[in-house]
């Protein structure tokens, strides 16, 4: 006998399907993050003047800072950010810590590229995904009782991606290893460890129910503060100021790179929230593939290279896609999800956060009776100020004369924007950005 569908049955079915829906959403966020993080490299390729790498990093982080305040203000409103903060004030410390880790890691990559070249450095710091899997398992119950098939999918996929990344990096590298090879290896490994560990605060925030858009607004203070301290410490105020003023023609491109990077990072945060760090990090690491597509087809980076280079690119890309596919098809099932809930319960009990609030936010929902605070005048002022700063630097910017293919660029922009729209719309429909 068939049962009559009632509103109660429908709600029960939706509750059962919800975890699966969120897993698919998290994987989609990981893909989109990869595309946008890879596209962030494009504006920085326009900068070929003799600016110090630390100054380049500082300017990008300034663009990141503007984006990390204006985007949440536009999407959610700063009142929601404040409400999130009142519920879990301890997460400010974690957000600042994560920002500091990011800034130190980013600076290390600059030294690594200088000393050993991108081909060796990139695969070394890409090992952050393996460390993410370890921290996810040890601290947040990820992959517990996941079964050998999912373990193989996640760990095997991450390893395959590392091999693919190595092939792509070798193909895209034009630098020969310099004299300080061991120093470069340490720098690259250090960056991987710092970035892999940075995901501990990420996951912690989301197991506590914090909205990714709220987390990034505080993350950026650690990021900008640490980066400014490193720039002043290594260059000194007068040299830093001199470099900033002499680079005013390219400030806009670097800040734009930072802005695009933030869009990718917001999706990366949602991926870490809905599929965990063990799956979210490797999926976001597909940015290397997108970066290479921009490099080859838009900036003609491998123009005139031999067949073996192109073989490496094709082989590396296929391996990256295989790894991404393996991870995407290894989403967390019922038993593992129960372990996630235990990890979430630990957070709510330890930090005295209402369990119903955490449970609702883990499902991308609001608690019963919760009203989202409306946007205020301050939100629009923030958006207007950030836009104004970008427009101002845009008027100072000069387009450099360099090799640029508009056809592939438009194709890549269309694909990246399409992913943004599809993923953004799915996020809105499923979670209302909760």
């Amino acid at each position: 006998m068939q049962s009559v569908p009632t509103p109660e049955n429908k709600t029960a079915a939706e509750t059962l399907l919800r975890p699966r829906k969120l897993q698919v959403l998290g994987i989609l966020c990981g893909f989109t993050a990869g595309a946008w993080l890879g596209a962030a490299e494009a504006p920085t390729k326009l900068v070929s003047v003799g600016v110090s790498p630390i100054v380049i990093s500082l300017i990008m982080v300034t663009g990141v800072f503007l984006a990390r305040w204006s985007l949440p203000a536009l999407i959610l409103g700063t009142s929601s950010v404040r409400a999130d903060l009142r519920r879990a004030p301890h997460l400010i410390i974690w957000a600042l810590l994560a920002g500091c880790l990011w800034a130190v890691a980013n600076t290390m990559t600059i030294f690594a590229i200088r000393d050993i070249g991108l081909s060796i450095a990139f695969p070394l710091w890409n090992s952050n995904s393996l460390l993410g899997i370890l921290w996810g398992f040890v601290f947040f119950n990820e992959l517990r009782q996941a079964g050998w098939r999912r373990w193989t999918g996640v760990l095997g996929g991450a390893l395959i991606m590392c091999v693919g990344a190595a092939l792509l990096a070798i193909a895209s590298s034009t630098q020969a290893p310099a004299a300080h090879s061991m120093r470069g290896v340490w720098a690259a490994l250090g960056a991987g460890i710092l970035w892999g560990t940075m995901y501990i605060p990420y996951r912690k925030a989301y197991l506590s129910g914090m909205n990714p858009l709220s987390f990034v607004t505080f993350f950026t203070f650690g990021e900008l503060g640490m980066m400014a301290a490193l720039a002043i410490g290594y260059l000194g105020m007068s040299r830093l100021w001199h470099e900033l003023t002499s680079a005013r023609d390219v400030l806009f491109w670097l800040m734009l790179g930072g802005f695009i990077w933030v869009i990718g990072d917001v999706f990366q945060q949602y991926a870490a929230k809905y599929v965990g760090i063990s799956r979210g990090i490797p999926l976001s690491n597909s940015n290397q593939l997108w970066g290479l597509l921009w490099g080859i087809f838009v900036f003609g980076e491998l123009h005139g290279s031999g067949t073996s280079t192109y073989m490496q690119v094709v082989g590396g890309s296929l391996l990256m896609m295989l790894g991404v596919g393996a991870i995407a098809f290894s989403s967390a099932a019922g038993k593992e999800q129960a372990h996630w809930k235990q990890a979430s319960l630990r957070e709510s009990q330890r930090y005295n956060i209402a369990e119903d609030y955490v449970a609702a936010r883990m499902q991308g929902m609001q608690t019963a009776g919760e009203v989202r605070p409306p946007r205020t005048m301050w939100d629009w002022l923030l958006v207007a100020a950030a836009t104004g700063i970008f427009v101002y630097f845009g008027t100072l910017a000069r387009a450099p004369r360099m090799f640029f293919h508009w056809g592939p660029a438009l194709l890549l922009i269309t694909a990246t924007v399409a992913l943004l729209l599809v993923c953004g719309l799915t996020l809105w429909r499923t979670t209302r950005f909760n």
């Binding site: 004030p89 301890h90 410390i93 974690w94 810590l97 994560a98 500091c100 880790l101 130190v104 890691a105 600076t107 290390m108 030294f111 921290w135 601290f139 120093r183 340490w186 720098a187 250090g190 460890i193 710092l194 560990t197 940075m198 501990i200 605060p201 912690k204 490193l230 290594y234 330890r350 930090y351 005295n352 209402a354």
Partner: protein, 41 residues
């Protein structure tokens, strides 16, 4: 009518942070990173 809150009285979050292993792992890694950066610079 306001719902009754049966939770324990709210304690300050700082002691909970400082006694959390999740906090010290990133702190140690950050200090190690800064030392390494100083060494390679």
């Amino acid at each position: 009518m306001q719902p009754i809150d049966n939770r324990e009285p709210r304690r300050h979050w700082l002691p909970s942070v400082l006694t959390d292993i999740h906090f010290w792992v990133p702190v140690v890694v950050l200090i190690g990173g800064l030392l390494l950066l100083e060494l390679i610079h």
